[in-house]
Subunit: 238 residues, 2 copies
DNA sequence: TTATATTGTGTATAAAGTACACACAATAAA
DNA sequence: TTTATTGTGTGTACTTTATACACAATATAA
């Protein structure tokens, strides 16, 4: 035990919790929102699925820690990341008190390969998840709630689509986010009239992406500047 | 130095940051939203104003830590608390790397008295703040953004009002939150028609609270159950 | 050709947001 | 007593947005 103790070389005057950073990474396969999970190689919860993540290291921010662990474990480098919540129940980790600050990210068309602490890395449809380790089921619910709240006004969601996308694509994204069918025609009208006023989405004349579909849909691209300008104007409206 | 080192009795195998919990506490004086600040008694930022807060202790959650420190420093016990964000820039504290998880709270008609580490505790109108310590100005901006986002659908904001309130009261609260005048007549119409459909606010027959005002306004009370029911139904609507 | 699936457009109606006129009651000043 | 001021309640006209649903256009498959 002496040898074990001598390895404990980081000493502080007051108690400190271990600090982890986890990442709920989403992608959209054109039909379903998916989330990236890794199967744990070690105890606790060995063999269970969990969000990629790990312990914070000196000199980095929590977000850097979350992205570093994500890349180490799965190779994924998301286009967008933002903080979701922190988890700090004293017994959430059976080993000792570990607080976790959780981020959510959007990645586009990325595959995942298991490295490091991860036995497997896999994308799951968000409504077909396996059993999750720790309090990660609770985190997932928070992530879904956040997505449903922010999809209304957050430009980041366009990261999930190709740079040139169709309105049916956008509608399917929303349908998956809310797990609910939307009237495609009203959805379309909403975004086109919306666009006329705000220029948030612009038609693309020569779509580089040609899908084989019964009737060829129109392609649009997202105008980030217009979206941000729109948000600033409409901070509030009755 | 040996004596100093011997006091460092919490030893870990890996590096850990210090973990603090801070609290942005709001109240509403009937005209302005106010936020609770304490003047720092010690370095760093000695004499500057900051959000109440302090270091996490073993066996408690981050929220418990934030509320404990708030009570210790100011005596305030808020009616509502929720997580806001975490701050983890490695240099946000000049002493060493300290991450802070920040909460925001609503308190109703509470006065603050300085205790503990706080030289003074004082409520400030949110648009008349003094210079803030650490990265607390950045935190304040996040808190305001959060308030402007969630006031639309969060029952918690009624904590800021008396249990029996008037629509002009509610309008003033929103005006303060957005730092912008709203048309009181349309505001009133919005909430009364809103209420007819949802029962979120109910008229009070015999107002216990009689203000001396040119014309006595009607009093209402908040129906939390109706609000939550409304939120569940209207998760989304085009 | 015919059937089917997918996309685009249109129309009618209802609901909600916005702008603004005006009436009423209490208080203070003339 | 009259008059002005202020905070409050009601009403009206207009614009915008949401909802339900009909129907046409186009490509694929039988």
């Amino acid at each position: 035990m002496k040898g074990n103790d001598s390895e404990k070389s980081y000493c502080y005057r007051y108690w400190r919790p271990a600090v982890a950073a986890d990442n709920a990474v989403f992608r959209f396969d054109g039909k379903n929102l998916q989330i990236l999970l890794v199967r744990r190689k070690n105890d606790p919860y060995k063999g269970k699925w969990a969000f990629p993540g790990g312990f914070m290291e000196e000199g980095e921010t929590l977000q850097q820690a979350a992205l570093r662990e994500l890349k180490e474990e799965t190779g994924v480098v998301p286009e967008f990341t933002r903080e979701l919540c922190s988890q700090s129940d004293p017994h959430r980790d059976p080993r000792e008190q570990v607080i976790s600050v959780v981020f959510y990210s959007f990645a586009h068309n990325q595959t995942a390969t298991a490295n490091d602490d991860a036995a497997e890395a896999q994308w799951f449809n968000i409504y077909e998840l396996p059993e999750l380790a720790f309090d990660h089921a609770e985190i997932f619910q928070k992530a879904i709630d956040m997505i449903r709240l922010t999809i209304r006004f957050d430009p980041a969601f366009f990261c999930l689509l190709d740079s040139e996308f169709t309105l049916p694509d956008l509608c399917r994204l929303w349908s998956s986010a809310f797990n609910k069918k939307f009237d495609r025609r009203n959805f379309q009208k909403h975004w086109t009239t919306f666009s006329l006023l705000t220029n948030i989405i612009e038609p693309v004349d020569s779509p580089s992406n040609t899908k084989t579909s019964p009737r060829a849909p129109k392609f649009y691209k997202f105008n980030r500047e217009s979206y941000i300008k729109f948000r600033k104007k409409n901070r509030f409206h009755f």
